[in-house]
């Protein structure tokens, strides 16, 4: 089938330093991959196209790019699944949230720095046993889903928080951290929770699900971040906006059956946090204009006792 690749190019050495799209037309087998196409461009049409790729089987993590605006590995993205609605165009761009070096090659240094920041190595305490650490299979196997992260950067590329906040550790590093927190051999959880609880840590995720969607290995970073949040709070870190938010959210629904948004905001930030309260004023004004200000008196929904019963059930189960 005829396929048109629309590839974003950038050459820092060119006088024209603005990125632009270049089109390549090729006859491709429908079962082939986006990477097959890029390699053919490079080998047969245009040797100047730069990209990283290596294993061609979704394990080395080199070839994360944006295909039609969404991150993924070029090597396991099929041509047939990537064609535009009008039939035959595939748009390929470098991964997002990282500076572009050339064409589809991005600078991974910021990515590795964040990985390093979570101290991604096993930190056991005490003497090493003579043989292996003993641990039930199920205690280790649940880690396999995170250990199988290939650090390709797809989640970071499409993370909506990293787009606006370069301080956020991001889905890949946080999932990596989870891998150690969840390891029965690691004894540094308390220290790890402290870092995770700080600004840039688990509370900065907005739960947009993008990382879960684009991850080519099913690591589900956001789920790991949510699991970390729970553990961070259980370990005693409850005095953060995030922890208070979770607490008040639960309280509100438990007591009235629905969310008291005014109270949620005030409780999360703290009423004496004058700076935050002032900062909210423009939001309140905008909400008012849009008719989205919650009612002054927050009333319970009819049948709220059923909601409470659900809570009781869940809480006793825990």
């Amino acid at each position: 089938m005829e396929v048109k690749f629309n590839v974003r190019r950038y050459d820092p050495e060119s006088t024209d330093t603005v990125t632009h799209f270049q089109e390549y037309q090729m006859d491709m087998d429908a079962s082939s991959t986006v990477l097959d196409g890029l390699i053919r461009i490079r080998e047969e049409i245009d040797g100047t196209l730069s990209l990283r790729c290596s294993c061609r089987s979704a394990i080395c993590g080199s070839c994360a790019v944006k295909v039609n605006g969404e991150a993924g590995l070029a090597c396991n993205t099929k041509i047939v699944d990537s064609l535009s609605e009008d039939g035959n165009t595939i748009t390929v761009e470098p991964a997002g949230n990282l500076p572009v070096i050339k064409d589809l090659v991005v600078d991974f240094q910021p990515f590795w720095e964040k990985i390093r920041a979570v101290e991604p190595w096993l930190q056991p305490e005490g003497e090493e046993p003579e043989t292996e650490y003993l641990a039930p299979d199920e205690d280790m196997l649940h880690l396999a889903g995170v250990v199988s992260c290939i650090l390709c950067g797809s989640c970071v590329s499409d993370c909506t928080v990293m787009e606006v906040d370069s301080n956020f550790l991001g889905p890949a590093a946080l999932a990596k951290s989870y891998r150690f927190v969840g390891d029965p051999r690691d004894d540094s959880a308390q220290q790890r929770f402290k870092t995770l609880n700080e600004s840039g840590g688990v509370w900065d995720c907005t739960r947009c699900m993008k990382c879960v969607e684009v991850c080519p290995k099913g690591v589900a970073p956001m789920d790991r971040i949510m699991a970390l949040r729970e553990q961070v709070m259980e370990s005693g870190y409850t005095n953060t906006n995030g922890a208070r938010h979770v607490h008040e959210f639960t309280n509100s629904v438990k007591h009235s059956g629905w969310l008291d948004e005014k109270k949620l905001v005030i409780k999360s930030f703290g009423i004496f946090n004058i700076k935050a309260m002032i900062g909210l004023i423009p939001l309140v004004i905008r909400s008012q204009r849009a008719g989205k200000v919650p009612p002054i008196f927050h009333k319970s929904i009819p049948g709220v006792e059923n909601v409470r019963r659900i809570f009781e059930k869940v809480e006793t189960k825990k």
Binding site: D11, P12, E13, S31, R42, E43, E44, D46, G47, T48, S50, L51, R52, C53, S54, C55, R56, S57, A58, I59, C60, G61, S62, N76, K78, I101, K102, D103, V105, F108, W112, R116, E119, P120, W121, L122, P124, E128, T131, E132, Y133, L134, A135, P136, D137, M140, L141, L143, A144, V147, S148, I150, L151, D183, R185
Partner: protein, 558 residues
């Protein structure tokens, strides 16, 4: 000019293991890799790592014998014994560093069966053992604060009076060329799969280290021994782990016949890789294949078992062949997978060039001989990576730097300048494809005299054309076009050394199967073939007897 005690080229399992052991001993170590460490090809190893643990009732001598038999008695028995004896502590060390490993009911490390072995002694992390171990070693590199030159490409080794004193390397990101002075250089660059087309190997497996060693005067050994893996996916040639058969998968031909029962009544699908690949190819050649393939049937294992232990290969088969192995058999074929040969090295990694070490797939110790057992390659990288690091760290304590300065880079700079100025119009992609196809055709599962002669001629003609490669990208930033052209030079040397070694071995042994000389000839060929470069730039063959200690060669049956 940069300065280090030890420069390690390659950041896969062998390279990082070497770096850790050398750094522990206080040496100033730097690792250079053309890709980020976690992108290394060790990540693609799926099935596991072998070790005979005494507390499981296993014996390293049994592991050694299985390895020797697997090698078709070409492996050096002293080296094999050492590798197998050290295997257990190496696996435990990886567990202590953080590798998760699948466990047994008692919470100890669990095992699975693998080809050519009488015991289940393969330790594993689902079906991505290599990736799991690679990431653990990278974590340890971060913890140790070891210096890694990420995405630097080594152009040449520096040799003075027959000794190695460093390397010349290029920063891929900027094109900057630097001289690194080092008292020891450890090659840990992995294999050469891209010399063949197709191959299960990553695109970075271009034989760099073998060629760098060869150009510096080191000998290459057992180069004719090229492993074809029995189960690679139809079409793409993507690897389907031996773990599939280890967990109980069958091989079927077009008549729905479990043909391995006929060829290897005892080991069946789990005979050694050379044997299984040959049987598959025979079935295909005799008309009992399906479109150049046979079938790998896992359906009887059930969905739960497959998703727990073989989830990645299930995904691979779905992604790359559109087949769900839970529901249908997977079409597979033998595919080029591993180079048993490499830079001749001792059990401490020393090559024939003082100051130059080699470990992992780039090296030939020779622990794999004519055929490597599945799950012995990860073991090889760790044991000999560590030993090379230790030996080099001790050696540099009493060694001075050679007299090296920035002029050592002049030849490489001129060479690159010439390549970029070339106005001929050969393309590296076409040349690599022609080379790879010729290698597959003439040096694949079955070989014969005429075919190999023809193959050698083809390689020679391709080599001539390679002088006229046009490098379209003239820039210095991430110029992959230039890199591939340089890699092509490495690959062509590897191809030639495979071809001349294969043509020289007038018998069939291990992966080297000649239809015109189908028998093993122990009288004349219990020896390794060594290739080295002579003064005129041509090659020269020599021989070394196989080391036989406790195990006399016998007829190999599975």
């Amino acid at each position: 000019m940069l300065d280090h005690d030890i420069l390690i080229i390659g950041a896969g399992l062998a390279g990082m293991r070497a770096a850790l052991s050398a750094k522990e001993l206080g040496a100033d170590v730097a690792v250079v890799s053309k890709v980020h460490p976690v992108r290394s090809h060790s990540s693609a190893a799926q099935g596991g790592i072998n070790a005979a643990l005494t507390d499981r009732g296993d014996d390293w001598r049994d592991h050694a014998y299985d390895t020797i038999k697997g090698s078709d008695f070409l492996g050096d028995q002293d080296a094999i014994a050492l590798m197998c004896e050290e295997a257990g502590s190496e696996v435990i060390a990886m567990e202590h560093m953080g590798a998760i490993f699948n466990r047994d009911e008692e919470g100890r490390l669990g095992t699975r069966a693998f080809g050519g072995q009488r015991e289940a002694r393969t330790f594993f992390v689902a079906d991505f053992t290599g990736q799991a171990l690679l990431h653990v070693l990278y974590e340890q590199i971060l913890k140790a604060g070891a210096l890694v030159y990420e995405e630097w490409f080594v152009l040449s080794l520096i040799v003075r009076d027959g000794k190695c004193g460093g390397a010349v390397m290029m920063d891929i990101r900027s094109g900057k060329i630097e001289v690194v002075r080092a008292k020891a250089v450890i090659l840990a660059t992995g294999g050469l799969g891209r010399v063949f087309e197709p191959s299960t190997n990553a695109m970075i497996c271009t034989g760099d280290g073998m060629s760098l060693g060869y150009r510096s005067g080191a000998s290459l050994m057992d180069m004719e021994m090229v492993q074809y893996h029995p189960t690679t996916l139809k079409g793409s040639g993507v690897l389907i782990s031996e773990a599939a058969r280890g967990e109980g998968a069958y091989l079927l031909n077009s008549e729905n016949d479990r043909f391995m029962l006929k060829y290897a009544p005892e080991f069946k699908e789990l005979a050694s890789r050379d044997v299984v690949s040959r049987c598959e190819q025979t079935e295909i050649n005799e008309g009992r294949g399906l479109d150049g393939c046979v079938l790998l049937d896992l359906r009887h294992l059930g969905e739960k078992y497959i998703s727990e232990r073989l989830s990645q290969i299930r995904e691979l088969a779905m992604d790359f062949a559109n087949v769900d192995m839970v529901k249908e058999p997977v079409p597979i074929m033998p595919g080029m997978h591993y180079q048993m040969g490499g830079v001749k090295a001792s059990v401490d990694g020393e090559t024939s060039v003082p100051g130059l070490y080699a470990a992992g797939e780039v090296a030939c110790v020779s622990v794999h001989g004519g055929n490597r057992l599945g799950a012995n390659s990860l073991l090889d990288t760790l044991v000999f990576g560590r030993r090379s690091g230790v030996h080099a760290a001790e050696m540099v304590k009493s060694t001075q730097h050679l007299s090296v300065d920035d002029s050592a880079a002049d030849d490489d700079k001129n060479n690159i300048h010439k390549l970029l100025a070339n106005d001929k119009n050969e393309s590296f992609g076409q040349i690599r494809l022609d080379m790879g196809t010729a290698m597959k055709e003439h040096f694949g599962v079955f070989r014969d005299e005429n075919g190999m002669r023809e193959g050698i001629e083809k390689i020679e003609s391709v080599k001539k054309r390679a002088k006229d490669v046009y490098v379209a990208d003239k820039g210095s930033t991430f110029n992959t076009n230039l890199l591939f052209t340089l890699e092509l030079g490495f690959m062509l040397e590897c191809a030639e050394s495979i071809a001349v070694s294969a043509a020289d071995r007038t018998e069939s042994r291990g992966a080297h199967t000649r239809t015109d000389l189908p028998d093993r000839d122990d009288e004349n060929w219990l020896k390794h073939i060594l290739v080295s470069q002579n003064k005129d730039g041509g090659h020269e063959l020599s021989y070394k007897d196989v080391v036989i200690t406790d195990w006399e060669p016998v007829v190999r049956q599975y």
